[in-house]
């Protein structure tokens, strides 16, 4: 199973529709400070069902919706879609291609979709089980924490890998 594309709109600094196409090789993301690189990593976590806003550097739903700037008004919702090739059936769904979509409104309401059918968060969590949440997005902070942790805390990483 592999990642094919990521589509974001209204998510943090990605106010307009933006699409990333991924192939099987290594993809590098580069750019100046504050341009939006880590926001892409946040979008991936978010669309896969992340519920802890602290992990996304925010506190509530509104924090991930484009807040507007001096030249552009705020958006009413944030949306992201991630598409996987599932020919090897690793994701527990009967589709060769799986698209997971999440949309959030300023009211705090969140909607989830799998291949355009509306589902519950529970279905997203089940569908994404093969994607170990622990190793999907790794930041500099997590990598250093793995070293500074106490031996008893570190076992968590191994339990996830087991």
């Amino acid at each position: 199973m592999y990642l094919k594309r990521l589509h974001v709109q209204g998510f943090k600094t990605f106010a307009q529709k933006t699409e990333f196409l991924y192939d099987s090789g290594v993809t590098a993301i580069v750019g100046p400070n504050g341009s939006g690189k880590s926001n892409i990593a946040d979008a991936i976590r978010w669309v896969l069902g992340e519920q802890r806003y602290s992990v996304l550097r925010g506190r509530k739903t509104e924090d991930v919706i484009f807040a507007g700037s001096s030249l552009k008004p705020a958006m009413g919702f944030a949306e992201a879609s991630i598409t996987f090739d599932n020919a090897d059936g690793k994701l527990p769904l009967n589709f060769n291609e799986v698209t997971i979509t999440r949309r959030a409104y300023r009211s705090g309401e969140n909607e989830y979709y799998i291949n355009k059918s509306r589902v519950r968060l529970k279905d997203i969590t089940e569908a994404t089980l093969p994607l170990s949440q622990t190793y999907t997005v790794i930041t500099q902070g997590m990598v250093d924490a793995a070293l500074s942790q106490k031996p008893e805390e570190r076992r968590g990483l191994f339990e996830d890998a087991a």
Partner: protein, 165 residues
Amino acid sequence: TQAQFSVTFDKVAEEFKRFFALLFNGGSARLVLTQPDNLAQTGIEILAQPPGKKPQSLALFSGGERALTAVALLFALLEVNPSPFCVLDEVDAALDESNVGRFCETLRTLAHKTQFIVITHNRGTIEAARTIYGVSMGSDSVSKIMSLRVDEVTDFKVHGSKLKR
């Protein structure tokens, strides 16, 4: 289960040893269970020694040496339990040029099992990629992207992205 934990631990420990030596171009490191008779509660200790140096507490390691040791552990976990895809957000930031080089070579060996998306400021890492997305901030404070297939690259400065070398 405890049997699973034990099998996983042994595999990760072996890979950690291997990746450490690859990334440091020498030296040695081990993972040690603090309570081998109590698998349900044991912690995991890291003992490491860069090439030519005496074994020392991780605390005395330099910033870059710590980052590289952590990457070795991370790669060991990914080798034993590959994630289909993995986003690395500036994990190579503290590495010098030669360490970035070994980081990339090692990343390539894992890249056939795991699809990597690497956010980086390091030119060496960018050179290891097949596709590059340049992200920039417009004057309207909206992110814009531009993609490059590596075979088309002549001058990185083209799309104005920051590149440290």
